[in-house]
């Protein structure tokens, strides 16, 4: 048995596990602080959010450790199946989903609610890794790009239909593993350009944008007036960009429902809603800023204690950290994440198997998107996009899906010497 255990846990990167535990502990502590009410503190309450979170953490840890007991090869073998199941769940949720906060993201199973979009992430990561490792495409041809895009876009679009824009956006993280595997850097730039133009289309009148685009194009042509091919490309790109602007406008007014439009407008700060998302961000920034250098101390945050930040234990948990632990605490948390992300990339690079490497990159980049979008949202540098802070935000689905995501990679990593 001892030997058996050694075999299962052999070569596991315990540093990552420690960071995982540290982040979960930070999460639990701050959820406790967010829920804490000085008038009603009567011992430990398992029915409360922090009580439930403790259960999620413990079961999550058990779940993670049991994943280490699996044979790593199974994930490769079952990747299409797991992906298929998550797609089916995403379709089911559209019909039986419990409507929570304006979107149908949850499947009720007894008293427990399952959020398929959380699990779709590792399903997609697995299938993408399987595809890349099997066919070894270098993404220089349209076909391989198309297949990879299809794998990512299928769950993304289904999640968009719920509609849960935040969770869908996270799937864009898969561009980075593909980039690592050979996808041209232009795709990242084009994509960045599309996001910038999309946002700009709402904030700046279209004709000004057209003027700007034309000017940039003209300047570029002037600078390269000897290179005919480049000139043609530039004209082409400029025209496409202008066309895209109109497409966005048309799609926005004709395709989207009014409530969806309103969410986007809120997101882009075109609309202020003192009771809704706008209020959240203002209060969140006040709470974080008031923490100053060292924070007000555990359970001492007035904004936290007196409930000024809505959804504080879930999407806005970072405001608790900011208020009670200050810049110091924020730096520690961001430091832990960055350490974890850099380590995951390093671990991925040491894999002999392409499957493990692609999967590792996927895990790191999904985590990165979550951390960046969530913290960025709480401090007002990114519009309100409701996605959780990995391992820290309250919620079982989220915690378990990150646990599964991470521990599958740890299992793959522990097998790095073998062939999968």
């Amino acid at each position: 048995m001892q030997q058996q255990g050694n075999r299962f846990f052999f070569n596991v990167d315990w540093i990552t596990v420690l960071i995982y535990i540290a982040l979960c502990a930070i999460g639990f502590t701050n959820i406790y602080a967010s829920i804490y009410n000085p008038d009603k503190s009567v011992g430990f309450d398992f029915a409360s959010s922090y009580g439930k979170q403790l259960i999620y953490v413990i079961t999550g840890l058990i779940l993670g450790l049991s994943i280490l007991l699996f044979d790593g090869r199974l994930f490769n073998v079952f990747a299409p199946f797991i992906y298929g199941v998550t797609l089916v769940l995403l379709v089911i949720v559209l019909f039986v989903g419990r409507n929570v906060g304006g979107n149908q993201a949850w499947i009720p199973i007894g008293s427990f609610r399952l959020q398929p979009s959380e699990f779709a992430k590792f399903g997609t990561a697995l299938l993408l890794a399987r595809y890349v490792s099997t066919f070894n495409p270098k993404f220089q041809d349209i076909k391989s790009i198309f297949i990879a895009a299809a794998i990512v876009l299928a769950p993304l679009l289904l999640i968009m239909l719920q509609p849960d824009t935040g969770s869908a956006l996270v799937f864009l993280a898969f561009m980075f593993p593909l980039y690592r595997e050979g996808l041209s850097g232009y795709f990242l730039l084009i994509f960045l350009g599309m996001i910038v133009l999309f946002v700009a289309d709402f904030l700046v009148p279209t004709y000004i944008l057209i003027l700007i685009l034309t000017t940039i194009g003209a300047l570029f042509i002037y600078a390269n007036k000897r290179k005919q091919k480049l000139i043609i490309t530039t004209v082409f790109v400029t025209l496409i960009a202008i066309g895209y602007l109109f497409l966005v406008k048309v799609a926005y007014t004709k395709v989207l429902e009014p409530h969806q439009r309103s969410r986007i407008e809120l997101m882009l700060g075109l609309k202020t809603d003192n009771k809704g998302a706008g209020y959240n961000v203002i209060q969140s920034q006040i709470a974080i800023g008031s923490g100053q250098a060292t924070g007000r101390g555990f359970l001492q945050g007035t904004q936290t204690k007196y409930g000024y930040v809505p959804e504080q234990s879930t999407d806005f948990i970072f405001s608790t950290i900011g208020e009670e632990w200050g810049f110091m605490g924020c730096s520690v948390v961001i430091g832990l994440y960055i350490f974890l992300l850099l380590r995951l990339i390093n671990l991925a690079e040491r894999q002999r198997s392409t499957f493990s490497r692609v999967y590792g990159y996927s895990v790191a980049c999904i985590l990165f998107f979550h951390v960046f979008i969530n913290i960025g949202m709480t401090i007002g540098i990114i519009p309100v996009i409701g996605i959780p802070l990995p391992l820290i935000s309250y919620g079982g689905s989220s915690l378990w899906s990150f646990t599964i995501l991470l521990f599958i990679f740890l299992k793959l990593d522990s097998n790095r010497m073998g062939f999968i």
Binding site: F176, Y179, E181, Q283, G289, Q292, Q303, C330, I345, C365
Partner: protein, 669 residues
Amino acid sequence: MEQLFNRKYIIQGLFLVVAIILLAKLFYIQIVSDAAFVAAESNVLKKKFKYPARGAILDRNMKVIVQNEPVYDLMVIPNEVKSFDTLALANALEISFDEVRKNLKKAKAKSNYQSTPFSKQISVQSYARLQEIMYRFPGFSTQDRTIRHYPDSVAGQLFGYVKEVSQADIDKSEGYYRSGDYIGKSGLERSYEDVLRGEKGVVNTVYDARNTPQGSYANGKYDVNAVSGERLISGIDIDVQKLGEELMLNKVGAVVAIEPATGEIIALVSSPGYDPNILVGKGFGNNYMDFIVGNPYRPSLVRPIQGYYPPGSSFKPIDALIALQEGVVDPNTTFNCPGYYMAGNHKVKCEHVDGNISMRRGIARSCNTYFCHVFQNLITKNGMKNQRQTYQDWRDKVAKFGFGTKLDIDMPFERKGYFYNADHYDKIYGNRWGYTTVISQAIGQGEITATPLQIANAMAIIANRGYYIKPHLIKGMGDKKLVKKEYVTKNYVGVDAKYFEPVIDGMQDAVNSAWGTATLSRIPDIIMCGKTGTVQNPHGKNHSVFIGFAPRDNPKIAIAVIVENAGYGSTYAAPIASYMVEKYLKRAVTGARANQVEWMKGQNLLPPLIDPNKKPKLTKADSLSIKKTDSVKRVKDSLKIKSAVIKQSVSTKPVANKPAILNTKPETK
């Protein structure tokens, strides 16, 4: 392959860049800027102000003359209001259903989140009813406050009034006043605002996001208790003040009584007056329009310090004093009075044909001829060519008696009167003017005007034999009875004490001798020295004036009484003065004189109004043009005393002026 491996660094680099962006923004909002910290404090912290009781005011006999009464306001925080039984609230407050809605709307317009007055000064009954059903009206609360009460219902202009602060007051106060606070707007309430108002207290309470109180902030470390305003002890004798107002009933004019030794004002009557209680609380707006603005005799004019009157005969003793000091006459100098005085080819009339007359008798009989001679001697003493300079010297000496300057009484909006320098006459006449041009000033007429306060103060100077202390209403502030330094400082007028006795002899005779002008106002057992005056008024009947002090030795009270359009000084002003002096010195007017007091109270001497529905409206421009034409007229017939202008009738608007501020070091008196 090697190239693709390098993409790891691009991705890791991206992670690091993003982490740095996040940390930079965090560094800014957490460490560089304190805006969030301030916002967080204002999120949870609500300040509730506790209003201190305003300081009381006592009279010179330590009787309370200004005090506080508790009242209750119903306050509302509109966004905390749940749907409530409008009818029940309307019934409890004894107002209509619609009014409840209207008030709520008004409060909402003011502020949705702050406690705003819903119904002010609710009755005690309403308050009691509300206490029982308050729980049914979340968002509403009662706040107790005090308002002013003036037990004797007199001296409206003297006390002034307290009113809710205006936006201008808030802006000026550098953060002290907040909307809804009260401030002294006029009278003593204004000039002693800093002392009377006390210190506001504050209770800092922590509130959660649902606006429910969560207890005290930082264990009350930053809470401040309200400190009641300090009490003021005034020199006013409220009984004398009250008698004065009753005597002046249905008359227009002013009375100022001063304790000469201290400069304390014993009474300051402005008639018509009003009951200060009408300007307290709810009725303010209507009452102000009805009783103050609506009264054609303009009670808003505080006549003792703002009304302009020619000093008239009361000026003659000052002529005599300066002439004695200058040595241009001595007490035995006599002049001949044929019933007039010729200044060049102009005639100044005298009331009597006095024949050869001395100073003592000249004062007692108020002989115009005598004082025109004195004035002539004064202005020509350095030769006819130096009259301009000599006039200016004389003018400066008279100014030391307090004419032409403010006396800095502790009331706002005091005015200084007119008393011109030589250059004023230069402008009109060039260098071709002399004593004959300005001869009317010898008998206190012409261009010179003074406030009753200045005239009374001149009397205090004579009573003191040569000095005065700036007249003031408050003789002690707070428990330590602090007093401003300027109110204990003697101001000498530059006339030696020995020169006063001959003048005082004449004033004694005016009241107490058979040939005096105010013999009917003799007070049993008390020697009052005085001087009647009949100030000529081109706009109507002459003004009746009396000035005096009593007793002759060690005087306790100096007084000036002016009754507009009442005719001879001996008929009204002198008796009124004598009753008030007697009341002050003996605590009562006794014997047959008690009946005379009642008779006097019943006299209606209100001048007829040209149009009773329309009060005469004179703008500043009018007053200037009138002055000008008068001056020009005076060029032609400066000797016709008729030209005397009663400027008090054109001085409508008090000059905006800074109230007395306690900038000098208070000294224990």
